[in-house]
Amino acid sequence: MIEFVIHGRGGRGGVTLAKLIAGAYYRRGLHVQAFGIYGAERTGAPVQAYVRVDEREIDVYGAIATPDHVIIVDPSLVSPAVAAGERSGGWIVINTGQPPETFAGVFPGRRVATVDANAIAVAHGLGTQAVPIVNTALLGAMARVLGMEIAAAEGALGDAGFGGANVAAARAAFAEVVTTEEPGEIAQPVLAEQHASMSFLDERVGARPSTHTGAWASRLPHSRELRPLCNDSCPAGNDVRGFVQAAAAGDDGRALAILLETSPFPGTCGRVCPAPCMDACNRRELDGAVDVRDIERALAECAAWPRPQRPSGGAPVAVVGAGPAGLSGAYHLARLGHPVTVIEAAPELGGLLRGGIPEYRLPRVVLEREIEFILDHGVEVRTGQPVDRAGLRRVAREYSAVLVATGQQSLRALDVPGAMAGVVEQGLEFLAHTHAAAEDLSGAAVVIVGGGNTAVDAARTAVRLGARDVRVVYRRTRAEMPAIAEEVDEALAEGVVIEELLSPAGLCVRDGRTSLVCRRMVLGEPDESGRPCPTGVDGDEALVEVSCDRLLLAVGQDGDLSLFPPPVAPVAPFRGPMSVGGASAAVYVCGDLAGGEGTVSAAIGSGRHAALAIHAALAGAEGDREAGSLAAERPRPAGPIAERPEDAPLAGPETVHLRAFPRIPPEPVSLAAPRLRRRDFAEVRRGFAQRSGHDPLTAEASRCFSCGACTGCDLCVI
């Protein structure tokens, strides 16, 4: 009887090789037996296959301990143990590119042959570079060393249904196999690591080494996170998924800390942000977006705010303008260790947050707390100090860098005949002074021109001041209004009327009554803003009069570029740095002045980016790294996350199996009744509705799918 043992790895064809060798002998009229020892049945596990050949019927079963011939499919399995027993004249055939002499010392008394079956298999397109299928090549090599004709191997291949490249590989190996009959003491090859036998119950092991298979041989799980749509859409750069998941885990403190890494205004954004993250939320399709805005608001209210850190060592930086962009820039610069001085023209900090957003949307106490938190980072403040062009030059000489965030102070006028003082007023100015001293509009008809948040805020403020009739005149339709949709809903509920498709054409006074004359509009093709372009209808019959006692303008505003010397005219998007009046300090611009999209969160993001750019310029490459760690990177989550590139693919709706989730409607939020809220400036939206024994914050945060987060389940590699 001739006996063979084949040492291979699971899934690489060792058992097939055994059957092919048996087939070659079967064709010679001999009795054969071929079988494998099956173990963990995974790619890469060391496995053995056996062949017996005899002239009489074979009636022994079981493993072969002392084979005549040994075939080593994977050279990492070379060890003296594979050729146990005295079988002089037997062959050791090894799949390797090394010469047979390399292994002679390992197998004294044996004849060794080597063949680079991997290279042959790859050359013939069998398997892959990483996992070549070498069995048919090794069959050719075996035929050669066993003294068979190549036809015997070809016949066995044909019987088993192999042809083409497999036959060619067998022929190549038949020709290329290198043999030695004179073993000697040459180089010692690297021996395979020998594992001691261990019990499957061995606590140190957990599982037998033989079950550490697939991954171990050729593959490792390579997990990476996808970028959630909410994070991608946040203009402030918040890690939305991160803070919502922390809140879902009940760790409100960590959730707030995640927010504060990118924004010092969670209480503000939790009230006034249009929340593009909620528009992007994958849950929207199932049962409504996760209420990220109210989660952020609740965190700002409930979680413990951290003690501000005051690192030092940076260079002095001035921030001109204390709106959301300037304050965000000051906050991040202070956190990066730079002494910051904020210079503000108004007597108080906050910019549009204070003057442009009514108190019923953003209570002053919330704003004050967040400004105070920023200042607690060591930010110096100079209020009541307007900065003009000469002033900016002085500041630039005084500081190492200047961040200009003066916003858009030039309010667009209404270019209509008959506009007169006393009746016509800018909406933003109206909002600013109504905060300071409430005005009585009892019985008045108030008309607001515009479609943005300022228009809606002015209208709702007029309602609260007692106006009898409040109308918003807008040249497009409600669908195109840039104002936050919920705010428009709330305005309508409070009695505001929206006059769509009207564009102001002039003012007329008749019988002591003032009217706004408007031209009716139709919507045409989309303009550069992507919205349908309104065009006027010709003829006098298309003119409509809207009577008004007060006319408020909210048609937009522009940046005041007089700060900058010509020809330096900042155009959007503009960030800097630039040099002013020969001063050494670089001047940066952020916020609406730099062409922001006009939301608080965009201003916050803009301020942070400018702060990081300034820090990088002041601190050099080292600063880049620190800035990077402050800006975007948090410690990697534990687990098998191999990489987490910022440019990872987005976790779009196709990555979420909606059917795996039960429908859970969003947590209800509490709203003041429209009739009540017409009376005063008390906050309209009150956050999550509270009921005893229920934690709405955790409940709502738990609705988050955590899109794109890798849980290390490894299902993707199975």
């Binding site: 048996a22 071929a34 079988f35 494998g36 020892i37 099956y38 074979i58 009636d59 022994v60 301990a65």
Partner: protein, 376 residues
């Protein structure tokens, strides 16, 4: 070679098979599902329980039915295996013997099929591929005989046989058709003669039904003798009967073993005989029914009997050993010792069986079952 098991079913004009894969039986299912049946169907189902359910339905409808499983799959199938027996359906079930987990173990151990010993089902244990092919054909004939009408299990060693390639004489279709005519199940469902199967039966009727099954089991040796005669006529070779014996006529010591272990034991017997020792071998091929008289005859003059059990009934010992002891009840002149070997697929080489013979020869009296390993 599992393909051989599948092939044997095909040449027997197996008409319907419900199958569910489990290592090391999977290749049987693969070869069945790949075969283009002209008359019949392979129904792939979601579990072994349903696989046997399909076979029961097919068989009651009059089709020849066949399935295969192993280990925990057999356990899951068990309820319907009992049902097949009590419905008196001649379904053939091939078991690729595999250790029951946990711990998870895919290697050979006869504990899975022996756990079905109290089902009303014949059980054959095969020593080689040829034995397996021939026994599947014999099993269909015996099971379908009107005097028997019981399902039959045909066991082979998982991996040792199931995943080994060897040369085998596979009979051709015309021979098989001559040996195995289409099934004619007397109690099959007929449109013109509606019946209810398996409804409530009173206690006494149930006891009689069990008694009928016992009579059917007792008919097996006579029926099998005739089937083997006919097999020899058609195929020109005679498969082994219940207890094929070797060198037992004058033996003092006899080894009782089944499956491929018996092949290895034969080498030990030959080696001992060459040294003049009077050692013999009885292979336990038919486990159900267990033909006690035939076993006693096969043991011949033996005064010492070593039973090799690749199975373990906790609290009792080897399952074959218990049967042998029961067969030799009242024979105080025979020393029967149980050796539990090869559990979980542990190899049982020549040296182990050799050591067992030495151990038994040195014993003064029988002891409790011994878990025997290489090196003592």
């Amino acid at each position: 070679m599992l393909a051989a098991a599948g092939e044997a079913n095909r040449v027997a004009r197996g008409c319907c098979s419900g199958v569910y894969p489990i290592t090391p039986q999977t290749e049987i299912m693969e070869s069945l599902t790949a075969y283009p049946f002209t008359k019949g169907a392979v129904v792939t189902v979601e579990s072994e329980h349903s696989a046997m359910g399909v076979c029961i339905g097919a068989s009651i409808a009059g089709a020849r039915a066949y399935t295969a499983s192993a280990a925990n799959g057999l356990l899951y199938m068990t309820e319907n295996v009992f049902a097949a027996g009590y419905y008196r359906l001649p379904i053939v079930l091939v078991a690729a013997n595999r250790t029951i987990g946990p711990p998870w173990n895919i290697w050979v151990d006869q504990g899975d099929s022996l756990a079905l010993r109290d089902a009303a089902m014949l059980q054959f244990y095969c020593e080689s591929h040829q034995d397996l092919v021939d026994t599947i054909l014999v099993a269909f004939r015996v099971a379908e005989d009107p005097r028997v009408l019981l399902p039959a299990l045909v066991a082979q060693d998982g991996f040792v046989l199931s995943h080994a390639l060897m040369d085998v004489d596979l009979p051709d279709q015309t021979q098989v058709d001559a040996f195995l005519p289409p099934l004619d199940l007397p109690h099959r469902i007929r449109r013109d003669h509606p019946r209810i199967y398996g409804g409530l039966t009173w206690p006494r009727d149930t006891q009689r039904q069990r008694e009928d099954i016992e009579h059917a089991m007792q008919a097996v040796p006579h029926v099998m003798e005739g089937v083997l005669d006919e097999f020899e006529t058609v195929f020109g070779r005679r498969p082994a009967g219940a207890f094929p014996a070797a060198c037992t006529d004058d033996a003092d010591l006899v080894i009782v073993a089944c499956n491929t272990m018996a092949r290895t034991a034969m080498h030990v017997v030959e080696a001992r005989r060459a040294r003049g020792e009077r050692v013999g071998l009885v292979r336990a091929k038919l486990f159900r029914p267990f033909l006690r008289d035939e076993l006693v005859r096969a043991l011949g003059s033996a005064r010492r009997v070593a039973v090799l059990d690749r199975n373990h009934s906790p609290g009792s010992g080897g399952i074959f050993w218990a049967e042998v002891v029961a067969s030799l009840a009242g024979r105080s002149d025979v020393l029967v010792q149980d050796y539990i070997v090869g559990l979980g697929g542990t190899d049982v080489p020549h040296a182990v069986i050799d050591a067992i013979v030495d151990d038994l020869a040195a014993r003064e009296c029988a002891g409790p079952p011994v878990f025997f390993e290489e090196g003592g």
